[in-house]
C-alpha cells in the first residue's frame, strides 16, 4: 500500500514538474543577430520550425493537476465517508439487534412464567397420600389449551427415584410422548438440580418440554411437574424478524430450543453461543466471522428463567447493503464529476497555456537573435501583463543591442582618434642643441584635451603646452586645431610668442565658436643666449629650478620659481585679444617644468589631491643628482603613479621637463 502510494505521489510530482526538474535552457551558443525591423505576431506554433519541446508541456501538467487533485480528493472523501457510514450503520444494527433480543427474551420469559403458573395451579391439587390429583387439578389441565401432556413426579424415599404419580394427556399428548421417555427422564433429573428446566422436543418446531420443581429437594414431599405445551404462538415471535435470525438457545449446550429454521445456515448455533458466552454478561453484542466471506453481527439477551438465552444475528453484508448502495451511487457521481473536470481541464489548460505557448515561442525567437518579434497582448491579466512586459523587454533588448553596437563603433572610432591624436605629439625625449626636452602625457579617457609640442625655428626652440576645456573627444578636436595652427605658424619666419597666441586664439575661437577654450603656455628659448620669451593664456604657471651644484643637495620648495610675470585670457574666449609676453633668462643647467592642472589634481585612494606642495616635493626628489632628464622624468612619473595607485584620472596629465645647457658647455663636456 505504501509502495503504491509512493509510486502515485512520484508520478504526480513528476507530472507537475515538482521533482526531477528539467530546465528549459535556450541554446546560448547560437549567434545573436539584430532584428531587421520587422514586427509580426505569432499565432501558429508551425511558425517555429525546429523548435524542441523538452519535458511534458505546461498544458498537460495543468490538465493532470486539474484532474488528479479532485480525483485524489474525492477518493479520499469516499474512503472516509464509507468508513464513517459503516461504523455508524454497524452501531445502529447492533443497537436494534440487541433491542430485538431483549424484547424476545422478555416475551419468552413471560410465556414460560405463565406456563409455570398453570403448572403450579395443577400441582396444588396433587395429594401425596393418594398420589393423585384432585378433580380440580384435572380441570385446570383440561382448561389450558396449550398443555398437551402433564405429569407429576414425586420423590420415593425407598427407591430413591421419582415415581410418576400423575399422567394427564390430551389426544396429541400421547403421540408426543411416544418414544421420548429418555428426554423426559433427563428433564426430571435436571429439574432435581434446578427449579425450572426447558427443552425443545425433538422433531418438532413448536413444542416445548417444561419441567418445574415445587419444593426444595431436601423436602421429601417435593414434586416435579413436567408439561409439554404448544409453543406455536411463541415460535412466531422468532419467525417474524426481517433480516434478523433469532432463536432461543440453551446456555449449557448452546442447543436451539425454539426459533427460526436453521437447517439452511452454514454455521452451528452452539459455536455462536460459545463465542458470545465469553462475554459473561446477561446481554451483549459481537461481530462474528463464520467464514472468510460471511460475517455476522450478533446480539444476545438472557431470558432470566431456566438457562435460556435469545440470540439474534444479522448478516453483516446485508446490514451494510445501504452503504454499498451509497458507495455505488457516490462512485457514479464521482465519475461524472471527474469527467466534467476533465472537460473543464482541457479547455482551461488550453486557455491558460495558449498565451504562454506564444510567449515561449517568442522567447525562443529572441534566444535565436530575432529581437523584432512581438506577441499579442490579449485581454489583460497576468498573462497579458507578461506579454506586455515581454514586448517591452524585447524592445529594450533590441535597443540595447543597437546601443551596444553603436558604442562599439564609437569606441572603435575613439581608438582611431586616439591613434590619430598620438601623431599630434612629438617624441617624448629630444635634445635640440642646447635644449633638452622630456615629456609625459596620459589622457584621462580615449582622447585627451592636453597637448604639448616642441619645434625649432632658426636658433629658437618653441615649447607649446595647452589644456582644452574638459577632456575626451571634443577637447581632442581642439588640440587638433591647435596643432594645425602651430604647424602653419612655425612654417614661416620667426614670430613673437604673443603674436603666435593671438593667431591660435583666433583659430580656436573660429573653430569652436567660443564654446571650447584652451589654456596655453608658449615659451620660446633662444639656444644661443638662454633667453626665454613667453606668453601665458591662463595656464598653470611653469616652474623654474635654477642650476644646482653637486653639494647643494635636494632642492627646496622655494627653489622652484613660478613663471607668473604675465597672464592672458584663455584661447578661444574672445576673437580679438592681444597677448602680452614677458622674458626670462636661463643659465646653464636651469630647468623649466611645464605641466597641466591634471597633475596637481591627481587623487589618491583616499580622494586626497596631490596638490602643489607634494608635486614640488616629487620634482625636487626626481631632479636631484646628475641623472639625465629622461631618468628624472621617469622617477617623477613613477612618484605620481605611486600616489595615484590606479585611481582613475579625472583630467589629462601632462608634464614636461626642459633643461637649458649651452652649446659651449656641451662642447666642453664633450672634450673632457
Amino acid at each position: 500500500m505504501k509502495h503504491s502510494l509512493g509510486i502515485l505521489l512520484q508520478f504526480i510530482f513528476r507530472t507537475l514538474g515538482l521533482g526531477n526538474r528539467r530546465t528549459m535552457v535556450a541554446n546560448s551558443r547560437k549567434t545573436h543577430r539584430l532584428g531587421k525591423g520587422r514586427s509580426y505576431l505569432l499565432r501558429n506554433p508551425a511558425d517555429m520550425p525546429g523548435m524542441v519541446v523538452r519535458g511534458l508541456s505546461l498544458r498537460y501538467k495543468l490538465m493532470a493537476a486539474l484532474m488528479i487533485i479532485p480525483l485524489l480528493g474525492l477518493t479520499l472523501f469516499l474512503a472516509m465517508a464509507k468508513s464513517i457510514f459503516e461504523r455508524d450503520k454497524i452501531a445502529y444494527v447492533f443497537d436494534s439487534s440487541l433491542s430485538v433480543s431483549k424484547t424476545r427474551a422478555a416475551r419468552v420469559s413471560s410465556e414460560i412464567a405463565s406456563m409455570i403458573s398453570v403448572a403450579q395451579a395443577i400441582v396444588l391439587n396433587y395429594r401425596a397420600d393418594t398420589k393423585n390429583l384432585a378433580e380440580s387439578g384435572t380441570y385446570f389441565f383440561d382448561r389450558e389449551p396449550k398443555f398437551e401432556a402433564f405429569r407429576v413426579y414425586a420423590w420415593n424415599q425407598e427407591t430413591s427415584k421419582y415415581d410418576l404419580n400423575v399422567d394427564l394427556t390430551k389426544p396429541n399428548g400421547k403421540r408426543l410422548l411416544e418414544g421420548r421417555d429418555a428426554i423426559i427422564d433427563d428433564v426430571v433429573k435436571q429439574a432435581k438440580a434446578r427449579p425450572v428446566v426447558v427443552r425443545g422436543l425433538d422433531s418438532t418446531a413448536d413444542r416445548i418440554v417444561l419441567a418445574a420443581r415445587f419444593g426444595e429437594v431436601s423436602d421429601l414431599r417435593h414434586v416435579i411437574a413436567i408439561a409439554i405445551f404448544d409453543a406455536t404462538e411463541l415460535a412466531e415471535v422468532f419467525t417474524d424478524s426481517g433480516r434478523h435470525v433469532s432463536f432461543l438457545s440453551r446456555k449449557d449446550t448452546g442447543g436451539v430450543v425454539l426459533g427460526a429454521d436453521l437447517q439452511a445456515v452454514n454455521w452451528d448455533p452452539a459455536d455462536i453461543w460459545s463465542t458470545l458466552s465469553a462475554k459473561k454478561t446477561p446481554e451483549g453484542i459481537e461481530e462474528i466471522m463464520v467464514s472468510k466471506k460471511d460475517n455476522f453481527l450478533a446480539s444476545f439477551s438472557e431470558v432470566g428463567i431456566a438457562d435460556l438465552v435469545v440470540i439474534s444475528m444479522v448478516e453483516k453484508r446485508a446490514a451494510l447493503a445501504a452503504v454499498s448502495v451509497l458507495l455505488r451511487k457516490s462512485a457514479l457521481f464521482f465519475v461524472l464529476v471527474i469527467a466534467a473536470t476533465m472537460i473543464i481541464a482541457v479547455f482551461a489548460s488550453r486557455g491558460m497555456t495558449f498565451a504562454l505557448s506564444r510567449l515561449s515561442e517568442a522567447t525562443q525567437r529572441v534566444a535565436e537573435g530575432d529581437f523584432a518579434v512581438r506577441v499579442e497582448v490579449g485581454a489583460g491579466g497576468e498573462i497579458g501583463q507578461l506579454a506586455k512586459s515581454f514586448n517591452t523587454m524585447a524592445g529594450e533588448v533590441s535597443r540595447l543591442m543597437l546601443e551596444t553596437a553603436e558604442k562599439a563603433r564609437m569606441e572603435s572610432e575613439l581608438a582611431t582618434a586616439r591613434t590619430v591624436q598620438e601623431t599630434l605629439f612629438p617624441e617624448s625625449f629630444q635634445h635640440l642643441g642646447a635644449v633638452e626636452i622630456a615629456g609625459h602625457y596620459v589622457p584621462a579617457s580615449e582622447c585627451g584635451g592636453d597637448w604639448w609640442f616642441y619645434c625649432e625655428n632658426g636658433d629658437k626652440v618653441y615649447i607649446w603646452v595647452g589644456d582644452a576645456t574638459g577632456h575626451g573627444a571634443p577637447a581632442a578636436l581642439v588640440t587638433s586645431a591647435a596643432r594645425a595652427v602651430v604647424s602653419v605658424i612655425t612654417s614661416g619666419p620667426e614670430m613673437p610668442v604673443g603674436e603666435c597666441l593671438r593667431i591660435m586664439n583666433r583659430a580656436i575661437y573660429d573653430t569652436s565658436k567660443g564654446k571650447m577654450m584652451m589654456t596655453f603656455f608658449l615659451a620660446c628659448i633662444d639656444r644661443s643666449t638662454g633667453e626665454v620669451s613667453y606668453s601665458n593664456a591662463s595656464h598653470e604657471a611653469p616652474l623654474v629650478l635654477r642650476a644646482r651644484g653637486p653639494n647643494d643637495g635636494e632642492a627646496k620648495r622655494n627653489d622652484f620659481e613660478p613663471v607668473i610675470d604675465v597672464n592672458n585670457p584663455r584661447l578661444g574666449e574672445q576673437p580679438d585679444r592681444v597677448f602680452k609676453e614677458s622674458k626670462l633668462q636661463l643659465a646653464d643647467g636651469d630647468i623649466i617644468v611645464f605641466y597641466t592642472d591634471g597633475v596637481i589634481d591627481l587623487k589618491n585612494t583616499e580622494a586626497k589631491q596631490l596638490g602643489e606642495r607634494r608635486f614640488i616635493k616629487m620634482l625636487a626628489s626626481g631632479l636631484s643628482g646628475s641623472t639625465g632628464l629622461p631618468h628624472s622624468l621617469g622617477s617623477i612619473v613613477q612618484s605620481l603613479e605611486d600616489f595615484r595607485t590606479n585611481v582613475p584620472l579625472d583630467d589629462d596629465v601632462t608634464l614636461i621637463l626642459c633643461r637649458y645647457q649651452s652649446i659651449a658647455v656641451d662642447a666642453k663636456k664633450g672634450a673632457s
Binding site: 584635451g449 589644456d467 576645456t469 574638459g470 604657471a541 606642495r613 614640488i616 583630467d651
Partner: protein, 165 residues
Amino acid sequence: MSDFKHTAKLNGDTLNLVFEGAIDEDTDFPPVDLNSVKKVVIDLNGIRAINSVGIREWLAWIRPVAQAATITLERCPKSMVLQFNMVDGFLPPKAKVSSFYVPYFCEKCDFEGSHLFTMGKDVTNGPNGPVINFNAKAASSCSDAACGIELDVSEAKYFQFLKRL
C-alpha cells in the same frame, strides 16, 4: 550631476548669494536682475571644486554681473583663489575679495588646514604692496613650540591676485 547649490537673499539693492558644491558643466548659477541689484556679495566657502568647464560657466555668468554691479567675494576657498591667479578674468577687474582661505601644513604635527584671511585685518597695504601676516595665523594653529607649520602653497603664486585689488 552637479551637487552645486545656491541660496539668494535680496536686501535692498544688495544680493547676498551663498554657493556650495562643485562648479562644473552642470552648474546653474542664479539669475541676477542687473537693473535693480547694485551690489552682489558671494559667499564661496562651500565651493568644493571647479573644473575647466566650470571656469567657462563662471566666466560667462560673472562677466555681465561685474559690469552692472559691485562684486564682493567672501571666504574664498583655495580652489577659487587658484583660479583667481591662473585664469585671466576669473576675478573680475572691479571685484573685491573680502576674505579668503590660506592653506597651511606641518609634517611634524601631521597638520593640514586653512586659515581665513580678512582683508584689512590679516592683509594690509604696505608701501611695496600688500602685507600679509602669515606668522600670527600660523602660531594659532598649533601650541607645540617645535611645530614647523608653514604655507601649503607657493607664496608668490597664491597671493598674486592681491596685487590687483
